[in-house]
Symmetry: C2
Subunit: 360 residues, 2 copies
């Protein structure tokens, strides 16, 4: 088995655990930041992928203008940690408690929130119109999750403005780009939808300063003449999905579960990592439940909570062998651990997954 | 994280969260305990499903002889909490650190561990033969994960005994019973494999006192003339998988994610619970990513990290509506939260998921 020898220090940590290759992560962060520099498109990475203050700081240091988060709870964590420009890219439905929590976040950070209905806009205004929050209208660019039709964005924007909110633009999440062979097509749909939504706002007399899209699979193909901002999340790490979508090579994967083989028979091995550290994600097009980084021809054919069953092209490695596995979807894997082990020169250290479990 | 005023009811707790209906859970616990009483089959529930001291105590109080756990970390949590009879049902591959952790557990609890290879048995003996640990041999009853062929169990047992270990029996996990329409067939395979493995031990002069099997889908069909012990995990709660396997009714589901509708269009609603609270599990035969408990005809057709997209047979509920969703696989859902909200008379309280994240 090549590539399974661990640098000094990691061997003393009981498996399974999630490890970051810091050099690869820093290269990934800088690569995207470098590609965006000078294009006029700003980078606002999604912090839900790493939930980690140290990684967010590296993104800001590389030129990101702020962070995207998914929940009020994530906004609280990153505002507490000193990040001052946050976007909750979610159509919140407020309660008095949630409104109170947002109010406290705005004491520490400039906050932007998403809205995708007139009812949601009015509710937001009722609770929080006195705050210096900015609002962007979510549009559906083909993923068919949340968001309004681009042509309706102006109506929602006008209603939000009439209710007293400061509408600054539009956003979308092109999640249907997570399909092999469709990234460029989806990026074109994203740009088209955002352009139409921007026009819909202008027809209501609102000039959008924020036209925000982007995901890791589509960010390279996004139309820089339309978008003002991108929000990829996975790019610092990459994962098995990104590899199988041809977004990255195996060498670009910075995060893996370090596992130990506990059972071997012929060409099959079972390791001590299952869905409780890799996550259970498996899109229909994936070749397995993650990828063994050193063995591109191996397939993870079954996953239990504490077992991954791996079929190898030849003899499987012996019990006791350590293998690194890239999760299919790292955002869910990271959310399963309290700390990430950082494999860096000088020996391993740990970073807290500060926003782990911040679902509300 | 702001944890402001003491909530007076479930409605005051921000969604999403996991809630237990205590009356239903207690009924589920008592129902299985009652069915086993007088059969000679002992109950050793798997604590990986709930990871919760309060629930484990209720299982012991109902007559369980001890607990099953999946990892040394879970054994540490439950030994610390005062549980004195623990079975790590996993073919451990020890390191000096892991052996030291087991040694400390045995100072507080009687410990049984699984072995499924001669190499594993010798390694266990090398580290821990001086301890009063008991050993059971894992056999494969058709799930094809870990475990040896039943006919080979005697060879492993003899090698373990020769190495100085105290071999007391055999165990299996009939995980292939998680398939619609195959529960009785799989239970028969389980009983047959365990019976054959017991014979294989007897042929080596080892009379097994422990013949352990059982999972929630198969426990009712297990052959009580063969098995001495069952280890179901999910039965206190049930989940969408158990409902679709026809193990339980919707009324028997004691654990759900309480969610809020954030977006509605026609027959489709999106709620604020995704894979970060429900888990991403979806077996090929499942009808969706969980079930809406109050709407048996609704289907969860898509799941993101913080969104579940639900198609209803008629008009979808308005934004702001709360819905309870049974996860497909509660073991992974419970592992995503720090606390379970207990819906009981006198108002909600919280139980810690004490062994959350205890993967090593």
């Amino acid at each position: 088995m090549s590539d399974t020898t661990q640098p000094c220090g990691l061997d003393d940590i009981d498996t399974p655990f999630l490890a970051i290759d810091l050099a690869v992560m820093d290269r990934n962060i800088e690569r995207l930041a470098g590609r965006l520099r000078g294009t006029g498109v700003q980078l606002r990475p999604h912090a839900k992928s790493h939930k980690c203050v140290e990684i967010a700081q590296r993104q800001i240091d590389s030129g990101a203008i702020g962070l995207t988060v998914a929940t009020i709870g994530e906004a609280e964590v990153f505002a507490d940690a000193g990040f001052t420009d946050l976007f909750i890219a979610y159509p919140l439905w407020l309660t008095p408690q949630k409104a109170d929590r947002i109010r406290k976040v705005t004491a520490r950070a400039q906050l932007r929130v998403g809205v995708d209905s007139i009812a949601g806009a009015r509710q937001l205004a009722e609770y929080l119109a006195d705050l210096p929050i900015t609002v962007v209208i979510e549009v559906d660019s083909g993923h068919h999750r949340t968001g309004v039709d681009p042509a309706e964005a102006g109506d929602v924007a006008a209603a939000a403005r009439a209710a007293g909110l400061n509408v600054v633009g539009v956003f979308t999440f092109p999640g249907h780009g997570y399909t092999p062979g469709h990234r460029a097509e989806v990026a074109a749909q994203e740009s088209h939808a955002l352009g139409a939504a921007a026009e819909s706002l202008r027809a209501q007399g609102i000039e959008p300063s924020v036209i925000s899209g982007g995901s890791t699979p589509t960010v390279d193909a996004a139309d820089n003449t339309v978008l003002t901002e991108v929000r990829p999340g996975v790019y610092p790490f990459n994962d098995a999905q990104q590899f199988e979508l041809e977004v990255c090579t195996l060498d670009d994967i910075a995060l893996s579960a370090v596992t130990t083989v506990v059972h071997t028979r012929d060409r099959t091995a079972v390791v001590d990592a299952g869905s409780k550290i890799l996550g259970a994600d498996r899109p229909g097009w994936a070749t397995g439940f993650g990828r063994v980084i050193s063995e591109p021809d191996a397939r993870i054919v079954a996953l239990s909570e504490h077992h991954a069953t791996i079929e190898f092209p030849g003899a499987a490695p012996d019990a006791g062998t350590r293998l690194r596995i890239a999760p299919n979807h790292l955002c869910n894997a990271v959310n399963l651990v309290d700390t990430l082990v950082v494999d860096a020169s000088g020996g391993p250290r740990r970073w807290a997954v500060a926003a782990r479990g911040a679902n509300t």
